[in-house]
Amino acid sequence: MSDFMRLEHVTRTFGGGALSTKPPIVAVDDVSLSIDEDEPKITTIAGESGSGKTTLARLLMGTITPSFGSMYYRGKDFTKLSRKDSWNFKQEVQSIYQDPFGSYNPFYKVDHVLETPINRFKLATSRQAKNTMIEDALAMVGLQPGDTLGRFPHQLSGGQRQRVMVARALLIKPRLILADEPVSMVDASLRATILDSIRRLNREIGISVVYITHDLTTALQISDNILVMYRGSVVESGAVERVILEPKHPYTQLLIESIPQPDPDNKWGDEPPTARFEDFDTMFGCKFADRCPHVMEMCADEHPPQFHLEQHRQAQCYLYRDEAKVMEDPDLATIFQDRRAELNV
């Protein structure tokens, strides 16, 4: 096993400087995670809006640095990369941003987005090879070149803009794709097609993928493992089918129960419990304590550790303190499963 990237006890806070009266926002709270190159996996990050998913992706992307903890790229300290390593990193890690409406330079045609990386990373040797490359990448996301090329970004629909960004990442064929809600504006059918392309690239040419999504159905379909985040912490993680089909952490349970069913006879039940902002004292204890139906006295005292519930799963919840041990190595990837053999494509 060789680590492509490794985060060790990474915490990222915003605000709350010496002059500020407000406490800082802890967007990512003590996360250890490595991304392995020999067994390239698809890892889903799901969780509450505002829980730190994009922040975690931006850390992996190198656009922000940890407030505490360390980060390594191919074993090298991320803060001390040589120029050559930085250049390689920029090619090896590609991201698809959450907001396709903010991802484009409005003055350039869409073609620019696709041509730039080809030129920059010298991916094609001739004009023709370049065109083929672009057309292939567009086909993978269900776009017709004739309906897409030669247009300005505002001339495309939301889903089309999103798909061009996916095509761009696929075309570069990096080692790691960080996809932040890459298909949130695309219908289910097309979603299946696009995610299938991503999965094929993962299996065939060994691209690791971090897939941030609110769509747990597709997470289950394409990923090997999942991290569920809540207010900066990874409250549950491990084998995707275990976590989604049999959630253990009370937040994950709430999340799975709330998935809207495409069945008009099976309507949403009562109001979901929402945070009580007034009296939330989750400073020291479990962050979910103010909403948790199983809350116990001990939950308020100290933040729960990562309980290793079964081979491929951990959960940060005291409900499991008797049946499970605390994880020795906090690196979440140590409990990940490799589903490639089982889900052959």
Binding site: T54, Q160, D187, I259
Partner: protein
């Protein structure tokens, strides 16, 4: 003459004025160097007060174009090439820009697609909400004072599941879903008759999504406002909407009540759409609807769905199917139903 029996039926408006919105034969085209993109092509439907109408369909099928046209926010090179949009008895298509602006402020609210990118980057969230409210103070009513405004902001933020302290932050300090919720808070602050929401929850986890849709639902019921929800999440549509309209390549190809369309889809595209709904069954093949979406600049002759349709027949290559009314509030545009509709 309208019978009382009909009046009692929820899906029948007894005359045209009872609709909150009527769209008739609407066409919205984009002029491009390579030809006209007919993004909305002869679309008609009605919205009753209090109705929740969901517009679904493939990416690029014209949903946002339609939503923007209803707000009269179509931008160059787009233009309304025909049809009418009646708000009560006033045709928005015919209206002067000045008039339409006052209607937009007082009667219609929009949550645009990509709303998280629509906030002003240099303004605090609270001030943006205030701006929205101030723009919409009805003439003759006194402007609210600072304390009233603060209470209002507090209330709106809590309603969309945000911590009230968010009002002091700038958009770049918020997550994608938080920005989307701010846009939603601005829209619901205005007490509109018609709410057009274009994928308002695409960046939200399902717990927050449920909370927001329930908030929107309660608000809308209180105002008896009609909601046009654009989205592709069939789960959300099943939970929230009363009526569903399916678009394909610029045309509305099917309309019906949510239970009818889910249980008995008529159009072959809708059928495939319902069948391809993802589920937690991992053993199932993970496939979309076969075939490529058509290029709007180069639609096949006849029915635009003919290259992908499992029920395609000879007539489908010759004639564009007309939209046929099968029942009250139920219709389809497909040659398979030509005879049924004729009877």
């Amino acid at each position: 003459m309208v019978t009382t029996e009909q009046d009692a039926r929820p899906d029948v408006a007894s005359n045209a004025d009872d609709y909150a919105l009527r769209v008739e034969g609407l066409k919205v085209y984009y002029g491009t160097p390579r030809g006209l993109v007919k993004a909305v092509d002869d679309v008609s439907f009605n919205l009753r007060p209090g109705e929740r109408f969901a517009l679904v369909g493939e990416s690029g099928s014209g949903k946002s174009t339609l939503a923007m046209a209803i707000m009269r926010l179509t931008r160059e090179p787009g233009h309304i090439a025909g049809g009418h949009i009646y708000l009560g008895d006033r045709d928005l298509v015919e209206m002067e820009e000045k008039e339409i602006r006052s209607i937009r402020l007082s009667e219609m609210a929009l949550v645009p697609q990509g709303a998280m990118n629509s906030l002003n980057p240099v303004m605090r969230v609270g001030d943006q909400i205030i701006d929205g409210i101030m723009d919409h103070v009805p003439p003759g009513e006194g402007t609210p004072n600072r304390t009233q405004l603060n209470t209002r902001i507090h209330d709106l933020l809590v309603r969309v599941g945000l911590d009230p302290t968010v009002s002091r932050l700038h958009p770049h300090e918020l997550s994608g879903g938080m920005k989307q919720r701010v846009a939603m808070a601005i829209a619901i602050s205005l007490n509109p008759h018609i709410i057009v929401a274009d994928e308002p929850t695409s960046a939200l986890d399902v717990v927050v999504q449920r909370q927001i849709m329930q908030t929107l639902g309660r608000l809308q019921e209180g105002l008896d406002a009609a909601v046009l929800l654009v989205g592709h999440d069939m789960g959300l549509v099943a939970q929230f909407a009363d009526t569903i309209g399916v678009m394909y390549a610029g045309k509305l190809v099917e309309v019906g009540s949510v239970p009818d369309v889910f249980k008995d889809p008529k159009h072959p595209y809708t059928k495939l759409l319902i069948q391809s709904l993802p589920s937690f069954d991992i053993s199932r093949q993970f496939v979309g609807i076969p075939g490529m979406q058509p290029a709007l600049l180069n639609l096949p002759p006849g029915c635009a769905f003919n290259p992908r349709c499992p029920s395609v027949h000879e007539r489908c290559f010759r004639e564009v199917p007309e939209y046929l009314n099968l029942d009250v509030g139920r219709g389809v545009a497909c040659h398979l139903f030509d005879e049924e509709a004729a009877n």
